[in-house]
């Protein structure tokens, strides 16, 4: 408390664009997907299927750009998992946050994700979302399974995995949206993801191990 804040440019334009585009795509996919899964009627089944297919394919293509971006910019290093300080982050969210303590892990350009985020986002971007896209693509291509040599697949299992993925993403979304309110103000994190600028406490040192994540780029700071 009372620490001096400074603004840092944390999220590049593409990164923000990607975040909100993906949010929109996932929201549409969740709504239409659950409609197709018979949970409610909203767009009408036929429209829901059409929208779900188009948006799904769009997501697949957009994700390819994201993959390209993350590797060419070296941002993938932000997703390398670590257990260092994991406990202190967990302790913060389960205890410290109620005591008004500072986050043990302020954001920095070189390290925008805390260890918990690293693990979550890595499993999301490298596992859950690709699985969801792969099963979605297979679902979409159901009629071509024979031609693709996938005749032994059954729609039931693809549907099972796709639904399990959908529920996982939905659950992530609940926690993720809630977590945005835990910044220094309720909307601070959301604002940062819109403008790119996040205010962080001044003078917090960046630990060495974090810097190592991308020494080539940031070793001079």
């Amino acid at each position: 408390m009372g620490a001096k804040m400074k603004n840092i440019y944390l999220y590049t334009r593409y990164e923000r664009f990607w975040h909100w585009l993906q949010m929109a795509l996932i929201l549409i996919l969740l709504v239409t997907g659950f409609e197709i899964h018979n949970q409610f009627t909203f767009l009408g089944y036929e429209t829901a299927v059409k929208v779900h297919n188009y948006v799904g394919i769009t997501w697949l293509i957009a994700f390819a750009f994201f993959a390209f971006w993350i590797f060419t910019t070296g941002e993938w290093r932000q997703y390398i998992p670590t257990t260092v300080k994991m406990f202190s982050v967990i302790r913060y969210y389960t205890y410290g946050i109620f005591r008004g303590e500072s986050h043990p892990f302020p954001k920095r350009k070189e390290a925008k994700h805390n260890p918990l985020q690293r693990l979550t986002y890595l499993s999301l971007a490298a596992f859950l979302l690709p699985v969801q896209m792969a099963t979605g693509f297979l679902y979409w291509g159901y009629n071509s399974w024979q031609t693709w040599g996938l005749g032994s697949l059954t729609l039931k299992w693809i549907a099972f995995i796709h639904m399990a993925g959908a529920f996982s993403i939905l659950t992530f979304l609940v926690v993720h949206v809630y977590m945005t309110t835990t910044g220094h103000s309720l909307l601070a994190h959301i604002k940062a993801m819109i403008t790119g600028w996040e205010s962080v406490e001044e003078g917090v040192a960046i630990e060495d191990w974090e810097k190592k994540a991308d020494q080539r780029k940031y070793s001079t700071t």
Partner: protein
Amino acid sequence: MKRINARCSLQSLAIVLATIWMGIVPAVFASPAQKDQAPGRTMAQQATREKGIWNTTDHAKHEALKKTFLSGPEVTQACLSCHSEAAEQFHKTIHWTWLAHKDENGAQMGKAGLSLNNFCISANGNADKGCLSCHPGWGNKTEAVNCLVCHGKKQINWEEAFEDLNAFRMETDESSKELAAEIQSEIQTAVQLVGRPTRSNCGDCHFKGGGGDGVKHGDLDTSLTKPNKALDVHMGTDGQGFDCVRCHTTKLHNIAGRIYTAPAYTHRKSLIEDDLTPKITCESCHSSTPHKASSKANDHTDKVACQSCHIPTFARVNPTKMSWDWSKSGKLNEKGKPYKRKGPFGKHDYLTIKGEMKWEKNVKPEYFWFNGSIKSLTAADPIDPRETVALSYPLGDRTDKNARIFPFKVHRGIQPYDKINKTLLTPLLSGPKGYWTTLDWQEALALGSETLGLEFSGEFDFVETTYVFPTTHMVAPKENVVTCRECHIDQGSRVANLAGFYMPGRDDTGLVDTIGWLMFLGAMVGVGIHGLGRVFTQSNGNKGEK
């Protein structure tokens, strides 16, 4: 430098113009009908574009048809004097013999054989003369073919006409002679008015099978004699105006369309593959991917028959009989006489001689896997009376490449069976010793079995049966097709009975759904508690701004 620039811009202008031009030309010249209609529809329109039928003869001018006719067979002779092979051809067809193939047990299939249904049950090898009203001979006789049943454009009561004619001819008075001449002229007119079979020619029997309008088939009744497009897009007189023979093509008087015992065809072929294919499948004209390129419906055609979606209900104008309970027959009214009772739609729902029946309109079909063949039981087949006996059922299952989900009318019956022999029984119905006269099951069953050379133990009871009719007529306009949601839904899906595969929207993912929603709820409750915790500890984790 300037010149090069000018050349460049000229070139690019030319390219731009060419591009626009190439875009406009097809747009202008493509017919508006083709622009946003499904390709399958365009194909079918092309296949049926030539509607005029070429004719090179006028039967009214033929000497052979101008003579005096005193009997039906004389008319037949006149036809055969030119169409010399017609009778011989026709005598070999099922329309004449009422006999189909033999089944795997060697039992003779066919109306005149051991086949049976749950309407009037059996024709008793044509011993039941009542059935012969639909046989294409003269009257109830089976000597000469009555060509005019199928080819006559003007139907008259032939039996009555010849009877009257012969009676008046014997008289000497003027008025009788005049009447005789009048009848003769009427006969001649009818004989000369011949051509390809029309809907009413076929419909006279096929719309009224089972003893009345719409009794048997749910998708064939007199409403199809002059249907509108809403009832049938192909036959509608305000639509394509197809006659039956437009799709039911003929080879030596054999008419394509039969599907039980031995189907008339087994392959779905388009006209592109084989322009002489019996044109009775939708694919023949519409192709197997008839919908617009991006349409999900095209992905369904390998498993779902066109009819399943395009015939939302059958019996849309006239009602059709859905059940017939023979066991309730035989009740007499207070005067001790047989009676009839009218029920919904003005149709009899009880007749002493027939039992209790149910009629329905706008009936949703039942759906089964169907590879084009229907298996039918015969009166010789053993049955298990503890269960509902399927007198006929579609063959094929979801692993069968040729099988599609297909719509059916299922007619449910309760009919007599032999308690000792465990076979279905074939009562004799019409005639002086038939059940309809005597109301005596014992005698009718014994006589009926005798006509077919079958044994009857003397002990009978009634068993529930089903009989299926594939639904393929009454194709609705595209705006009335079955919607996705009528099948892809968990409650009341049209295909709720079809198991063994996962269907989006109809099936849930079991435990995944339960655990999934628990996860979601857990997260909601979790963040709720966490958030409240922050509010109560006045902390919020929001540093710096307070």
